[in-house]
Symmetry: C2
Subunit: 318 residues, 2 copies
C-alpha cells in the first residue's frame, strides 16, 4: 500500500501545501482510496498518475471545508472524464446531505451512482483485500479516523525446508502453498507443514482532526503506521486555545507510548513555513515531535509518497 499526500495544510492552502487529501494506492498500482478531499484535490491529482476511473472509494473524516470542499468538483470532473461505475463515499451524514444539496442547487448531474455510507453507522467496510473501520475522534464537530487493515494475508512457503528435504520447485510447491497434500518420492507431504507462520496483516490508521490521540490506542496497538494531524507546536496550541487540534508533542507522545513504528504528521498550520530558517518553521514541529518519539518520524509534504511493504516497513519512495 502506498500513501500519496495530496494536501498537508490545515484550514487554508499555501503556495507549498494544499488542504487535506490523502491517496492510498493498492499494490495493483491502480486501485486507490481517497481520505478527505479538500478544495483543489482534483487539481493535485493532475500532477500524479492517479485516475478517477480507478478510485474505489472516498472517505471523509469530518464536515469542515478544508476536508471536503473539493468533493463537488472532483465528482463533476469524474463525470466529464466519463466515469460510469458507482462510487462509494463514506462520510458523516452531513457531507452526504451537502453533496445532495449541491447536486440539486448547482445542476450537477452525475452519470454514475453515488453510494453513501454513513460513517456513524459504518461498523466495518470490506473492499478488495482491505477492511476499513471508522474510529470516533474528538474535535469541534464529529470527526473520525479510518483504520485500513489487510483482510487476508497470503501464505508463504518455507522454501528453505523444502530445499533441505530435496523437494524441487514446481507444481507441487503450488499445491502445498494452498495447504493441500502431495506425494513426493513415496512420501505424503502436508501443505501446512511447509507454511511459515503468517506475517502480521498491514494496518494503517489515518486520523481526521483530533485533539485526543489516546482514542486511537486500541487500533494503533497493532498498526504499523499512524497518519495524524499535528496542527501546532505546543506553545502555539496553548495560545490558540481549545480548537480541537493536537500539538506535535501530544501526538508524538502518544505514538511513543503505543509503540508505533511509523508516525506521519500532517495538517500543519499555514504559519509554519517551509523555509526552516524562518520562524516558526515546519522544523519546529519536527523537533518537538522528535523529542517525544523514538520511532520513524515523517513530516508529510504534498506529493510525498510512502510505501508500506509486506514486512510492515514504511519508506519514502517519491
Amino acid at each position: 500500500m502506498d500513501l500519496i499526500f495530496l494536501g498537508t495544510s490545515s484550514g487554508t492552502p499555501t503556495k507549498q501545501r494544499n488542504v487535506t487529501g490523502l491517496a492510498l494506492l493498492e499494490e495493483t498500482g491502480s486501485n486507490w482510496y481517497l481520505v478527505d478531499c479538500g478544495e483543489a484535490t482534483q487539481h493535485q491529482l493532475l500532477h500524479t498518475a492517479l485516475s478517477v476511473h480507478d478510485l474505489q472509494a472516498i472517505l471523509i473524516t469530518h464536515v469542515h471545508g478544508d476536508h471536503c470542499y473539493g468533493l463537488p468538483g472532483l465528482l463533476a470532473s469524474a463525470a466529464m472524464l466519463g466515469r460510469k461505475q458507482p462510487l462509494t463515499i463514506i462520510a458523516p451524514a452531513g457531507v452526504a446531505d451537502w453533496i445532495r444539496a449541491t447536486q440539486q442547487l448547482t445542476a450537477l448531474f452525475l452519470p454514475y451512482t453515488l453510494q453513501f455510507l454513513s460513517v456513524e453507522e459504518l461498523g466495518s467496510w470490506q473492499h478488495n483485500n482491505w477492511t476499513v473501520r471508522a474510529l470516533p475522534l474528538s474535535h469541534r464537530v464529529p470527526s473520525y479516523a479510518y483504520c485500513f487493515t489487510e483482510t487476508t494475508v497470503e501464505a508463504t512457503l518455507d522454501t528453505a525446508r523444502l530445499a533441505a528435504e530435496g523437494i524441487p520447485p514446481g507444481p507441487l510447491w503450488g499445491l502445498l502453498k494452498k495447504g493441500g497434500e502431495a506425494v513426493h518420492a513415496g512420501r505424503t507431504l502436508k501443505g501446512n507443514d511447509y507454511l511459515l507462520p503468517p506475517r502480521a496483516p498491514r494496518r494503517i490508521v489515518v486520523g481526521g482532526d483530533n485533539d485526543n490521540p489516546d482514542l486511537l490506542a486500541e487500533a494503533c496497538a497493532t498498526a504499523q503506521v499512524l497518519v495524524h494531524e499535528a496542527t501546532y507546536t505546543q506553545d502555539v496550541a496553548d495560545k490558540v486555545g481549545d480548537v480541537g487540534h493536537s500539538a506535535a508533542a501530544r501526538v508524538a507522545g502518544f505514538a511513543e507510548a503505543a509503540g508505533l513504528p511509523h508516525l506521519v504528521l500532517t495538517h500543519f498550520s499555514a504559519r509554519y513555513q517551509a523555509d526552516i530558517s524562518a520562524s516558526p518553521s515546519i522544523d519546529d514541529i519536527r523537533a518537538e515531535a522528535a523529542a517525544q518519539y523514538r520511532g520513524q518520524l515523517w513530516l508529510a509534504e504534498d506529493f510525498a509518497r510512502y510505501r508500506l511493504n509486506k514486512a510492515g516497513q514504511l519508506s519514502l519512495v517519491g
Copy 2:
C-alpha cells in the same frame, strides 16, 4: 481598470488553466471585484497581489460548478485571514441557497456578513465609480453577463485654451475644473467654457456561458471590451451539439458586427492544448476568431493582466 484572469478553462481544470475566475481591479490598485469563482480560485489568488480584504464584491454568472465551486473555500479563507467587513455576492438565487446550505451543513461560520443580491432582480448596482448591470444570456441554466460602466467621468480642463488666453496654472484652474466662475484680469471666466467634451465612460462586458452573443448587442455598442467564452472551434461545436456554448467564429463574428475594439476570449475546452504544434490547440481557436474579427483579439491565459486606460485602449500589462 485591470482585468486579471484567474482561470480560463471550461468544465475541468488543466495543468495550465484553472476553471473560471476573473478579477477586475480598480485604479486604486487594491479594490477589486471577482466575476465567477471556480474551484481553486483562492489558490490562484496566492500567486497574485490581490487581497481578500480588498474584495468589493463577487459576481457569479450561473450555478454551474466550474463557475462557483471555489466560493465556500474562498469565503472560509477570508474568515480565517480576518476579514470583518461585509461582502456583497451578486448571483443567481440558487447560488445564494447553495452557500447558505453549505454554511449550515459544513459548519462554516463567517465572522462577516454576506449580502446576497439576486441577479434576477439586480437592475443595476452602484459601487465606488462603477455601475454594474446584469444581462441575461442563453445557456443550459440561467446565465448572465455583467456590464461594468464608469459612473462618472472626471472633467478635463482645456489647458491649451487657458494658455492661449494667458490664464496661468493655479487655484483658478481648480475652480474652473469644478465648473465654477472666477475673475481674472477683470474678466469673468466660466468653468464650462474651459472644459473639454467628456471622454466616453469605460465599459467592460464580461459574459457567462452563452450560446447567443447577439444578446449582448446593446451593451456592446458602447463597450470597449467584451470578455466572452469561446469554448470550442466551430467543427467541435458541431460535433458536441447543443450544449449552450459559443464557438470562436460565432463570438468573433458578433464582435466584428458590433464594432467592438477589443475582444478577449476565454473558457476554452480542455481539449485545446497549450502546445500549438498539438491538435487541436489553442491556436485553432485563435485562427478561427481572427478570420472573423478585425479588432484587437486576445486569448486569455491564467494570470494574464490587461489594462483598460481612460482612452479606452486595452493592453496586456502582465
